[in-house]
């Protein structure tokens, strides 16, 4: 890929090829966002169907079997195929810029991670067209998952195995990037909170996802190759699934929220024009949350019958997480205290996050009280709780991040008016939908029920909840419209928000090599430091020289395709031995691509320093 072609107008085919082969973190960020957005809309549609079914008692909008497929795919899609990739996309887009790097440590691996996610997600969703989606819940508890007929759960296993491998690669890549590629002067304790959160989240991914991988393998062997890990009749034990699932699943919740904690820290500081209050405490609180996040998985299992000792330990550990989380909330408030606050769309989502997430946090502590949990567990109280955390935290955060970084990612500023309408509609709809669910749960509504009888005083609450879902749908449509109309707006400036961190020191969108010269970091909030103490421009941290860049490659795409075919082979070899051809064929193809990658020398290319000099001259004008 030569640099001259980058600026020319390209045909659609060339653009497509560019994205299929790209190893540039910014473009991979675009891909993650697009893929995540697609699955977000899909998962949202599934949610809407669920809410329509539950709008009235004894409703038969969809059948019971289809409802179980909907709720399974809604949860699985939103967690693994929407929230995770969108977060990985944001990390890809912002983190290397924030630490003043030209790319991530392993650009090829980065692309491979994305394509594995996409093919895994497509494989999982293919099940809709091939005999039915998985129907054992996103937690896919082994006893029911073993009973589930058809291939639905097999698609769940194969799809998540492939997508999960991609996520694991992303996590390792970000750790290596942050450890090795920080710009001169960017010490750990000068990193923006979003970068810190990315770092800590990546560590969580590194330790949590292997538990999921192992669980998926156990279930795969049981369902496809007649093993008996979970077959009680043959001495297996289904509780093992629950433990392994939540050893992954609880840290997963923190994987979903910690990056946004980091983001909100950046946003509150930027739009209050104040440095983050208690930076050190914020960093260590994040670490403590992550650490405790591995100690509390069994609070999802208080009713399993673990006994009072285990229940008590996990109850106390769970409540303890409230302490570092409280520190963060109060530090954000203190950051804004005494500031000069600008309220725009990004800030609105962040301000809306504080009360919403606090409710999710307080119900979290309430759930941590094990004896109270005997009532909450597996009811709509829990459904309300985790939507307050994941929507009120993660989704609010994602919208804040999109408004905040949209100019940096796509060179356009999303329109403020439409942004505010989106927020208002969503905020109202969100609270309408989920607040009442806490009460529904306590009034006796178990979760994951496809219908309820009239005369149980559950009607009004469910109707309110469904009305809220329509508000959220409307909000999403406005947001999509916003993206489309703002695409025709003028180019965004490099620093539209009076930013404090390094990503605002370069143009919007940045050149493909990010920095002509890596910047010299002279303190926390490096750009702010230069604005106050320098001339507002980053000082160079290295002499101008040729820059080494990696070549693009189609191999990540092909490898992932190989695993996708192998996944189909795994799923269907129980029906016909012919499918072993797909299994071995796909595997051989993927391994063949790896061999090619290993044996073929690819030294990348250099951008000449004259060219960089020209770019610097242009900027100077």
């Amino acid at each position: 890929m030569s640099t001259a072609t980058m600026t020319q107008k390209r045909s659609f085919g060339a653009a497509l090829w560019d994205y299929l082969t790209t190893v540039d973190h910014k473009k991979i960020g675009h891909l993650y966002l697009a893929g995540g957005a697609f699955f977000f809309l899909l998962g949202g549609l599934e949610a809407l169907i669920i809410r329509i079914q539950l709008m009235f008692p004894n409703s038969d909008f969809i059948s019971a079997g289809l409802f179980n497929e909907m709720l399974t795919m809604h949860g699985t899609t939103m967690i693994f195929l929407a929230a995770m990739p969108i977060l990985l996309g944001l990390m890809n887009a912002a983190m290397p810029l924030q630490i003043g790097a030209r790319d991530v440590a392993f650009p090829f691996l980065n692309a491979l991670g994305f394509w594995l996610f996409l093919f895994g997600g497509l494989l999982l969703n293919l099940s809709w067209f091939l005999g039915g989606a998985p129907d054992a819940g996103w937690t896919s508890y082994a006893s029911l998952a073993m009973y589930s007929s058809g291939h639905g759960v097999d698609f769940y296993v194969a799809g998540l195995q492939i997508a999960g491998a991609g996520t694991l690669m992303g996590g390792i890549n970000f750790i290596a990037t942050i450890v090795t590629m920080r710009a001169p002067g960017m010490t750990y304790m000068r990193m923006p909170l979003f970068t810190w959160a990315t770092f800590i989240t990546s560590v969580l991914i590194l330790f949590a996802f292997p538990a999921l991988t192992i669980n998926m393998f156990l279930l795969m062997f049981d369902r496809m190759f007649d093993a008996a890990f979970f077959n009680v009749d043959l001495g297996g034990n289904t509780i093992i699934w629950q433990h392994l699932f939540w050893i992954f699943g609880h840290p997963e919740v923190y994987i979903l929220i910690l990056p946004l904690f980091g983001l909100f820290s950046d946003i509150f500081a930027t739009f209050s024009k104040k440095r983050l209050f208690g930076y050190t405490a914020m960093v260590f609180a994040t670490m403590l949350i992550a650490f405790l996040g591995f100690m509390v998985w069994a609070h999802h299992m208080f009713t399993v019958g673990m006994g009072p000792v285990a229940n008590s330990i996990f109850a106390v550990a769970t409540m303890a997480i409230a302490v570092p989380t409280g520190i963060k909330i109060f530090n954000w408030l203190a950051t804004m205290w005494g500031g000069s606050i600008t309220i725009n769309s990004a800030m609105l989502w962040s301000l809306g996050f504080i009360p919403s997430f606090t409710i999710g946090g307080m119900t979290g502590v309430m759930l941590g009280s094990s004896v109270a949990d005997y009532q909450y567990h597996d009811t709509y109280f829990v459904v309300g709780h985790f939507h307050y955390v994941i929507v009120g935290g993660t989704v609010f955060g994602i919208f804040a991040a999109l408004h905040y970084w949209w100019p940096k990612m796509f060179g356009r500023i999303l329109r403020e008016g439409l942004g505010k309408i989106t927020f208002v509609l969503f905020f109202i709809g969100f609270h309408l939908t989920f607040f009442v669910q806490h009460f529904l749960g306590l009034m006796g509504m178990p979760r994951r029920i496809n219908t309820f009888l009239p005369g149980q005083m559950l009607d009004t609450g469910n109707l309110i909840s469904t009305i809220g879902a329509f508000f959220m749908t409307a909000a999403i449509l406005v947001f999509v419209y916003n993206i489309i109309v703002s695409a025709r707006d003028e180019q965004a400036p490099a620093d539209p928000w009076d930013g404090r961190t390094l990503e605002w020191a370069i143009s919007s969108p940045p050149p493909y090599y990010n920095f002509e010269q890596l910047p010299l970091v002279r303190g926390l909030d490096p750009l702010w430091v230069e604005k106050r103490e320098g001339n507002g421009k980053m000082l160079p941290g290295e002499p101008l020289d040729d820059v080494h860049m990696p070549n693009g490659s189609i191999l990540p795409f092909l490898m992932s395709f190989g695993f996708f075919v192998a996944g189909l082979g795994f799923i269907y070899q129980t029906d016909s031995k012919l499918w072993f051809l797909a299994l071995y064929g796909g595997m051989a193809f993927a391994l063949g691509c790896m061999v090619v990658r290993s044996l073929k020398d690819d030294h990348g290319y250099y951008i000449k320093k004259e060219e960089l000099q020209k770019a610097l001259d242009r900027e100077a004008k």
């Binding site: 179980n68 109850a315 203190a334 000069s340 009360p355 597996d378 306590l442 006796g444 149980q456 005083m457």
Partner: protein, 355 residues
């Protein structure tokens, strides 16, 4: 901006207030009006944690509102640069220490209640019942009394009853919101807990763990009666012999059809042993047929003719019995509704006072 933000908050508050005023749910289903020991223990902790956490929430919202009122960017001061505060050890210590104290306030009663509810040392002094979960119905085996019921669990009021829970197929979860919290019904081990009802009544029970297509329909009832009535019910159940029922000619025909159509291979009427389908001993007294249908003959006929339509994926299938004409189903329904072993029925239990 602040105007509509305030309005939204007001709407949310008003909405939740309305909800509270409209009641705490159905009196024999809701966990919010506890009528049993376990439910009361849980409710105490629900109230405690809600109060503590609501206080925290109010503080957060209060500070947020003050911040938004006082520290918005002011007109004419666009270039104002606020003081860049690094932090404050005192403040940060305060908002670390206070939450720790709050956590201790909530943790100690939790642990005490946890050990209290898990206590099984006195189980030999009380009645023990084995509860088995099946897709999608419940079976109750009164081990000491050698009687069995399905779907309706009779217990004496004011006495602890120990329940041993196990599953014959997939994971279920046993929940009677008004009486006690839930406990999982595992396929690999027996879980034990106790319930104690404070008031006579018919309580809703539900399966709380996704267990297949008819998970939502896996309801049961707990009928709490006075100890005297309970003893009489046990006597009636023990002495019940379906062969001695006085039946009219239609019901008698239904009985013969019941036997001829292979129903007995799954459904026992009284007796003991492991069942394949629900025990029909007290079928005529059920508050609901199949857990969900109003107990009318029409519903029962519909059920016999096509159970899968009403409860998808349940195990009562035409592989096990032949298709049955509407006329025959009607006769069988007549017979089944005659299965009333005792004077003590859900109808004789006083209604719970709604609050």
């Amino acid at each position: 901006m602040r105007g509509w933000l305030g309005k939204t908050k007001a709407l949310v508050l008003l909405g939740s207030l309305l909800l509270l005023l409209s009641g705490c749910g159905k009196e024999n289903l809701t966990a919010l009006v506890p009528k049993g020991y376990g439910a009361q223990s849980s409710m105490d902790l629900i109230v405690l944690t809600t109060v503590v956490m609501s206080a925290v929430f109010l503080v957060v919202v209060l500070i947020l509102v003050v911040v938004l009122i006082r520290f918005r960017k002011k007109k004419g001061q666009e270039d104002f640069i606020p003081k860049q505060v690094e932090g404050s050890v005192t403040l940060e210590t305060v908002w670390t220490a206070i939450p720790i104290i709050l956590v201790i306030i909530m943790a100690v009663p939790t642990v005490m209640a946890e050990f209290d509810l898990a206590d099984t040392e006195e189980r030999d002094d009380h009645r023990n019942i084995t509860v088995t979960g099946y897709q999608y119905w419940w079976h109750f085996d009164y081990d000491d009394d050698e009687i069995q019921t399905s779907q309706d669990l009779y217990i004496p009021v004011g006495e602890r009853v120990y329940l041993d829970l196990k599953s014959e197929d997939v994971l279920h979860s046993f929940w009677i919101p008004s009486l006690a919290g839930k406990l999982d019904v595992n396929p690999e081990n027996v879980n034990t807990f106790y319930i104690e009802a404070y008031e006579e009544g018919v309580y809703y029970g539900k399966c709380a763990e996704l267990c297949g297509a008819s998970h939502a329909l896996m309801d049961f009832k707990v009928i709490a009666v006075s100890p005297e009535d309970f003893d009489q019910w046990v006597d009636d159940m023990q002495s019940f012999d379906p062969e001695e029922l006085e039946l009219d000619s239609v019901a008698q025909e239904g009985k013969e059809l019941f036997e001829a159509n292979n129903c007995m291979s799954c459904h026992a009427i009284g007796g003991s042993g492991d069942p394949l389908g629900p025990n029909l001993a007290s079928f005529g007294d059920r508050t609901r047929f199949a857990g969900i249908l109003d107990p009318t003959k029409e519903n029962l006929v519909d059920w016999i003719m096509d159970p899968d339509e009403i409860k998808p994926d349940n195990k009562m299938k035409f592989d096990n019995y032949p298709e049955i004409s509407e006329e025959d189903a009607g006769k069988m329904a007549e017979y089944l509704m005659e299965l009333k072993p005792s004077e003590i029925t859900p109808d004789t239990v006083p209604d719970l006072a709604s609050e």
